[in-house]
């Protein structure tokens, strides 16, 4: 003979189990409805086949302090900013290869590249009448003026980890700067000047030596090879 309290306990437990099963089923249905409701039904964009083209990288060499232009076949984006970013990322990546002539630790180096049309003008609030805008112009010596029509300023935002781990010294830091400038010169004829940021902010030096506070002119650094006297 089963005691009465045990039968009551059995039926309570059975009822609780049934109730929990119902709650679980309801929860599953709600989760499935939520997933279905937020599912993006947009089809994936079809991959675009970008034809690879020949680009020129200004490769640095620590031993003789030289910069030489070397051709590479790369598939790069068409958009200028993305193209410059990808090209500089490839340039720095080559320096992390084994037996590199200008060794740099591997890792992402360039966070962003911004291409700005010159001359730079201060931003004007939307809706400002044109007659009020000239009064807000800064002095002429604060402007970065172009030397030719259609010139651009490239702002290269480097990663702090890249700068912190870059080999320290005048020669290695200037070679990296000249290598970047030379690569931009060889592939982007509109870029006339370059400024550098690190983690989105101005920084005095790359890693203790090369000045990053100035605006660099984009020139053919391959012709600016250091003179090896011995």
């Amino acid at each position: 003979m089963i005691p009465r309290y045990q039968r009551i306990l059995f039926w309570i437990l059975a009822g609780a189990t049934l109730l929990m099963a119902l709650v679980l089923l309801r929860g599953c249905e709600q989760a499935r409805e939520k997933l279905t409701r937020h599912r993006d039904e947009t089809p994936l964009a079809a991959p675009v086949a970008t034809a690879s083209g020949t680009v020129r990288l200004a490769m640095a060499n620590d031993v003789d302090g030289s910069i030489t232009l070397e051709d590479r076949d790369l598939a790069l984006p068409d958009e200028s900013t993305a193209r410059a970013h990808a090209l500089l990322a490839r340039l720095i990546a080559e320096y992390s290869y084994k037996d590199s002539a200008h060794p740099i630790e591997s890792g992402p180096a360039v966070d962003d590249v911004f291409l700005l049309d010159l001359p730079l003008r201060p931003p004007v609030a939307l809706g400002t009448p044109a007659t009020q805008q000239p009064d807000q112009q800064p002095p002429a010596n604060d402007l970065i003026e172009p030397h030719g029509p259609g010139a651009q300023l490239a702002v290269i935002n480097l990663r702090g980890t890249f700068a912190d781990h870059h080999p320290s010294g005048i020669e290695p830091e200037m070679l990296t700067i000249d290598s970047i400038i030379g690569t931009l010169y060889a592939n982007f004829p509109r870029i006339e000047q370059v400024r550098f940021l690190v983690d989105g902010r101005p920084r005095e030096t790359l890693n203790g030596h090369a000045d990053l506070t100035r605006t660099y002119s984009v020139v053919n650094t391959a012709n600016k090879t250091a003179q090896e006297a011995h």
Binding site: S168, G169, E171, P172, M174, G208, R214, E228, A229
Partner: protein, 295 residues
């Protein structure tokens, strides 16, 4: 009639006085700040004076060469040895630091000290673990059309491009040093670099960076190697002697005379006063920053 004449005379006297005061105030406002606008060229170089700037120091260690070897210590050790060699050759040497202070001078303050000395050569010392041999750099500034000796004394020189007036001399000094290192069979590279405070110096200025000595089939000679350092110091001393003699043929006598010694002491005292003044400016700036901080 008489009161009106008196009134006119008094009015004329007041106007004359006011014009004189306005003229004197205007003249005072035209005086440039010495630290921001170094006036006067490096035309009166002291041909017996060398300025050494051991780079980095204090919380700025510079590059790390090997295990626990810091660039600031290498440059300081090199400067101490080079200073002794140059003094033995009859030079008066001023260094921007002769220790490792906790609050080192900024680049602008070092340039400020250098620009007051009118040294015949300003040598900025660096060291690196990359490359081989000795690297010699000059400023990337283009030579100004007016050389330093032709600047009128009243024309202010922009601080950021103060080296432009001397960059031609700096390039000649770099060429002479490069030639000397080549004759000493030391690998040498010369080029241009954008580094501070090179652009702010008003003297023939070069940055000399020592790198390990790489030789094929042999281990690299570290920059801490005493024999390697001695070769570099001996070459630099000889080249700077030739530079001085070339710059001023009458200054070939290198035997320190009592007058020269007195002059050296006076320059050293002035240098110490300049460094003390620069440090006091740092202290004032630090205090001002601390006072602004809690706001």
């Amino acid at each position: 009639m008489i009161p009106s004449r008196k009134f006119a005379a008094v009015l004329l006297a007041i106007l004359t006085g006011a014009a004189a005061i306005a003229f004197s105030v205007h003249a005072q406002l035209q005086i440039p700040m010495p630290a921001q606008q170094p006036s006067g060229p490096a035309s009166t170089l002291n041909h017996n004076l060398i300025l050494l700037d051991p780079a980095h120091g204090g919380p700025d260690p510079g590059a790390t060469l090997g295990d626990h070897i810091l660039e600031k210590d290498i440059t300081l050790a090199l400067a101490v040895r080079l200073r002794a060699a140059l003094a033995a050759a009859g030079f008066t040497v001023i260094a921007t630091r002769d220790a490792d202070p906790s609050d080192p001078l900024t680049g602008d303050q070092r340039a400020d000290i250098a620009n007051r000395t009118h040294a015949v050569a300003c040598i900025v010392l660096h060291a690196t673990a990359t490359g081989s041999g000795v690297h010699i750099f000059t400023s990337t500034l283009q030579p100004s059309e007016d050389t330093g000796s032709t600047y009128p004394s009243y024309v202010p020189i922009p601080w950021e491009t103060a080296q432009a007036a001397s960059v031609s001399q700096s390039q000649r000094l770099a060429a002479d040093l490069t030639s000397a290192f080549t004759k000493s069979s030391l690998p040498v590279l010369s080029g241009k670099a954008s580094i501070r405070p090179l652009d702010n110096l008003m003297c023939p200025a070069v940055a000399i960076e020592m790198a390990p000595l790489l030789a094929s089939g042999e281990d690299a000679t570290a920059v801490t190697d005493p024999a390697y350092q001695q070769r570099v110091i001996a070459t630099l001393t000889a080249a700077l002697q030739a530079w001085r003699d070339h710059a001023d043929p009458e200054a070939q006598t290198v035997v320190p005379s009592p007058d020269n010694s007195a002059q050296s002491k006076a320059i050293a005292a002035a240098n110490a006063a300049g460094i003390a003044a620069a440090r006091s400016r740092v202290a004032l700036q630090t205090t001002a920053s601390a006072q602004k901080g809690p706001q």
